[in-house]
């Protein structure tokens, strides 16, 4: 526990002094605000571009508040994930490659504390950014389009945060596993974005999948997901988080010998 506290302090200082604590939340908040704002101004914008023949009227169906919020996590599923991958791909691999980790690895280091200190710090930033972003989005949506019931919103946000924790775990473990940040990013990209695409294309055949957690999250904004499929997917996601983190700890230890001396 002492080692975890010491290492977490180091990780936190890194996140603060490299401004990750500033720019990651700002990006998530910005994209969350942009969604309701552009939706609101889109009709006026198209109107002012105005190469429509006189008298033509386009009717825009006004999106529901739920749709706007669901669109926000649609943005997060690409841009948000990319930001997290870029921010944390070097968490372990970078330290190993630059040799800054050498002076930790030659000590009686607990690799569990080492990995978990990064995991907790990165998750605090990532989950915090998503929550602040979604709250900002919620406020703007309420301002322009109407309010979503707060209970539904919390279920929506909570479920999506579970997915974000899985995302952070995958990125950190890829970083512990791969020899450099670039490859860690590639592995994370394939595991998260590509697999999501595959699940989207072929996933009609099954209902239980960690990749369905974001869409189940969005369904809370309407009727709510089918209970069985939802809870099984949540359970599998939690299990995967634990298993992938355990693999990450093991890889951190195994790859310590590859640190630059």
């Amino acid at each position: 526990m002492t080692q975890f506290r010491v290492l977490f302090q180091k990780e936190w200082r890194e996140n603060v002094r490299n401004y990750k604590i500033l720019w990651i939340p700002l990006v998530f908040i910005l994209f969350a605000i942009l969604e309701p704002v552009t939706q609101y101004f889109l009709p006026q914008l198209l109107d002012s571009l105005g190469n429509l023949p006189d008298g033509a009227v386009i009717e825009f169906p006004e999106p529901s508040p739920g749709e706007i919020l669901a669109n926000i996590i649609g943005q997060y599923q690409f841009i948000g994930l990319l930001v997290l991958i870029l921010a944390y791909m070097g968490a372990v691999a970078g330290e190993r490659r630059s040799g800054t980790a050498t002076l930790l690895y030659v000590r009686p280091l607990s690799y569990g504390a080492y990995y978990m200190s990064k995991w907790v710090a990165a998750n605090l930033i990532a989950v915090g950014s998503v929550l602040f972003g979604l709250l900002a989005g919620y406020y703007y949506t309420a301002l322009f389009f109407g309010q979503v019931e707060i209970g539904s919103f919390l279920q929506f946000a909570g479920t999506y945060c579970l997915w974000i924790i899985l995302v952070v775990t995958v990125i950190l473990t890829a970083s512990a596993w791969m020899p450099n940040g670039g490859l860690a990013a590639a592995v994370s990209f394939v595991l998260l974005l590509f697999m999501q695409l595959v699940d989207g294309l072929l996933g009609a055949y099954w209902t239980v999948s960690p990749f369905k957690v974001p869409s189940y999250a969005a369904q809370w904004l309407w009727a709510g997901p089918e209970t069985g499929a939802y809870w099984w997917s949540v359970a599998i996601t939690v299990f995967l988080i634990v298993a992938i983190a355990a693999f990450g700890i093991w890889m951190s230890k195994k790859n310590a010998a590859k640190v630059k001396v």
């Binding site: 010491v6 800054t100 002076l103 030659v106 280091l109 640190v259 001396v261």
Partner: protein, 293 residues
């Protein structure tokens, strides 16, 4: 007492043998120099002793407690941490009691001469300051065994002198193993020499033992003129060589000794500008050991 004993240490990277069958002992509070050209396997041996690399064969026995301190050749630090923050973190991970961490870290930083810079970020440090900080993190937990990889090779002459003096002051209660390819440094602080070449230990012993084995002591006499040198050489049967105004006499078990030479010179009434007993420098010895292979 042995602080560390390595037996038959071997390390292979795929088909390449980096270290082959290396055995040595480190006695308490002695300094051992691991000497060899770049690529001889010095860093690999040190990495195995720190536990960073697992040896392919052989055993490492470390007796006694107190842990290890390690200084890599090019120590790297998290640039966003201050020197004090880094050393405190190192101390805590090495198990220094929480109550002593601050005091011990500050004292260590002052000892290595970073007292005024300890609140500065590591990222702003020059090469010499990094080397000092590297030394500080290696000794902050007061280890019994200190492993140093080329501790002074990258420094300018002033920095080198200062670090060597620091190391010498640590010698009283620390066992030190350090690698170097600069033999003048090794000559200065050594109880034991380990000559490494292409992964193999080709010679080992104390500085005196190695000197006695390879140094070929000789007496060098400088005359005013070459005629005098030639005349002196002809007068005795010591099989000296004449090099212009100098006569060089090899010292063997049969002699001559310095006293015999001085007596002979006095008896002949020859004027000399200098008489000196010389032995090979470590560098010459090293070349000889290397050539033997």
């Amino acid at each position: 007492m042995n602080v560390l004993e390595a037996k038959g240490l071997t390390k292979q990277f795929g088909a390449e043998v980096a270290v082959e069958d290396v055995s040595f002992r480190l006695e308490e509070n002695t300094a051992t120099a691991l000497i060899g050209p770049n690529g001889a396997g010095k860093t690999t041996i040190l990495s195995m002793l720190t536990g960073l690399l697992k040896q392919s064969e052989g055993t490492i026995n470390q007796s006694g407690q107190g842990g290890i301190g390690f200084l890599p050749q090019y120590p790297q630090f998290f640039p966003w941490l201050t020197a004090l923050e880094f050393v405190e973190m190192a101390a805590k991970i090495s198990g220094v009691e929480a109550a002593n961490v601050r005091q011990q870290s500050v004292r260590t930083l002052e000892f290595v001469g970073l007292g005024p810079a300890m609140k500065k970020k590591c990222g702003t440090f020059s090469g010499g300051m990094k080397q000092r900080l590297g030394l500080a993190q290696a000794i902050v937990h007061q280890p019994k065994l200190l492993l140093l990889d080329e501790p002074v090779s990258a420094l300018d002459p002033t920095g080198r002198r200062e670090i060597l003096n620091l190391l010498k002051s640590l010698q009283q209660d620390t066992t030190i193993l350090y690698s170097t390819h600069i033999l003048n440094d090794a000559e200065e602080m050594t109880d034991q020499l380990l000559f490494l070449q292409q992964g193999k230990l080709v010679e080992q012993g104390s500085l005196k033992e190695v000197r006695d084995r390879y140094s070929e002591p000789r007496i060098q006499i400088r005359f005013e003129t070459s005629q005098e040198a030639l005349r002196f050489s002809a007068l005795n049967a010591w099989q000296g060589t004449v090099d212009r105004t100098e006569v060089i006499l090899p010292v063997t078990t049969q002699g001559p000794t310095m006293q015999m030479v001085l007596e002979r010179l006095a008896a002949e009434g020859l004027a000399v500008s200098g008489v000196e007993r010389k032995s090979a420098t470590l560098e010459e010895i090293f070349l000889k050991v290397a050539g033997k292979e």
